[in-house]
Symmetry: C2
Subunit: 334 residues, 2 copies
């Protein structure tokens, strides 16, 4: 199994990427990696080239680039070249820490989507209070518009993913809605509810509200990309602001408070740990012919290591093709 | 000016309602109150009946009641009777701590909406990190479906409210969207952006993302009720979970941590204070012929006092009719 890695994406590329990939390579001997990026820079950090090939590229897609335009004009960028190698069958999966929009575009236009899936969806893992497995939520913004049938497809793919990669038996799939009762929502979400209720292969448990995103009430939460984006950003924004205010309160209130802060610091680490989803890997772009995974631009060696594990699990379980097979069967039955 | 008060709504009714109203009565001598509810219970807590009348009612709308059905069947409930008195011109505004959905229904079906407003919107005040005035966001769930023209109407009403009640000159009005760039969003939000950009009477500053809800980047944030509901609940849910985990971390980690917690407690109070919006009053149902305000079911005397101030400001400024006049003018110009 061979993973194409965009070595130039993210805040600390390529150093952190190279270190993370080497760590993963040392753990799983049947994985090979192709690193796309500036050869000289990559070599500076690469200690051992076992199972690692470098393909030199001299362009880079920046965080500020307009996604689709960047994919079309920067043909020799590390991201486009890595995506191309997946499309051409040279590698089996695409991994990047770079521009999310550009990776979505590269996934859709270069890697290509599964025929039976109308729209790929972006699926991160959020932390929950009662389990280290977290919750998967999709779509969080790959699509601004949605149809109920998209949500049904996403539910199936999310459920297969949770079974394969997180090893959850009959994952609880819920619909993000504006109330928990069955008749809640706008037209789209009412239609989606009915479809999900009648999708035999998933364990649909009904509606959840976004106030319960982190409460561990479901394993997979399905939502349209516009609402999912709003709920995800509100969650992240609130957590960021609260933790910042907490730090300020502990640090900017004199020496006595600082002393107290030092005492409680080890206990507070638990909260930070709860919000640390690095072991869950990156956000998956589901609905494509091969695994395409985006890790956070600020990801560390640990996150990169676990993202490789995540890709490895998807490849071992043939997760992507399972969805394909399911949809083909579903379409035949229609 | 006379305010109709549903004295039986909320967790600690009627005691906390009576105490809050008495406090407000002592502050503003030109306000009169009509308390709808169980006379015997209200009298138990009422110290001084100056400017306060009691109208006995023997039904109650519960938090679990189905809103529209409750409004139609419980004709002698404190909420319905209070709403009826506003409709009949006996009182000038409606104030309740009860079932939000039922109050929406009472507002729309009994008090009645402004002719020029297609759909009333629910508008709470959220805290922000850089100002005690907070931010007003609407609609957060009075409507599951929305049109761009609704969002335009809400923007105008929110802006008038921020000017009148919060005394902000040219309040910054923003659109909640899935990105800050002008071309972001689904069809609805792109249309809304164009309408808002061309609404002269408001100070439209463009898109905001839900990650910045609490960042103080706008005074009024307009959103469709479905997204607004998701963003609001995600914000509240995350804050609740984080503060709970914080408390647990400080209290459940042995005597040494507890000691540290005691030291830092005064500094942490600042965070709690930041999230305390009781001075902003309750959530306003904008678009009705008279002010209809919902305070949180768990509201305390302080919040009730400030909600009366909020209603008082709306009445003094004739906020509701200003919107009406504006829309009439706008329609004529078309």
């Amino acid at each position: 199994m061979k993973i194409a890695v965009d070595a130039m994406g993210g805040d600390n590329a390529p150093q952190v990427v190279v270190e993370g990939i080497e760590k993963a390579r040392d753990e799983w001997s049947d994985l090979e990696f192709v690193l796309y990026g500036d050869e000289e820079q990559i070599k500076k950090y690469l200690k051992d080239s076992k199972n690692i090939t470098i393909v030199h590229t001299d362009e880079e897609i920046l965080g500020t680039d307009e996604p689709v335009k960047a994919i079309r004009s920067k043909k020799n960028s590390s991201m486009v070249r890595a995506a191309k190698s997946v499309k051409d069958g040279e590698t089996d999966a695409l991994f990047s820490l770079g521009n999310t929009g550009a990776l979505l575009a590269a996934g859709i236009f270069i890697v290509g989507r599964i025929k039976q899936v109308d729209r790929p969806a972006l699926m991160p893992t959020l932390p929950v209070t009662n389990s280290p497995l977290g919750v998967n939520i999709l779509d969080v913004g790959a699509n601004a518009e949605a149809k109920a049938t998209y949500l049904q497809q996403w539910a199936v793919m999310g459920s297969i993913y949770a079974t394969d990669v997180k090893q959850i038996k009959e994952p609880r799939v819920a619909l993000l809605n504006n109330g928990t009762e069955e008749d809640k929502g706008d037209t789209l979400h009412k239609e989606a509810f009915d479809l999900l209720k009648n999708t035999e292969e998933i364990n649909f448990i009904g509606n959840v509200e976004s106030g319960d995103l982190l409460a561990g009430v479901a394993d997979v939460i399905v939502t349209d990309g516009f609402t999912g984006n709003a709920a995800l950003k509100a969650t992240e924004g609130t957590a960021t602001i609260l933790l910042k205010e907490l730090k300020k309160a502990l640090m900017d209130n004199g020496i006595f408070t600082k002393l107290g802060a030092a005492i409680v610091a080890p206990s507070l680490k638990g909260i930070k740990d709860m919000f640390d989803t690095s072991r869950a890997g990156g956000a998956v772009l589901l609905g494509l012919k091969s695994p395409v995974i985006k890790a956070h631009g600020a990801a560390n060696v640990e996150t990169i290591f676990y993202t490789v594990k995540q890709i490895y699990d998807m490849l071992l379980n043939d997760t992507v093709n399972k969805a394909n097979t399911y949809f083909e069967k579903m379409n035949k039955e229609k």
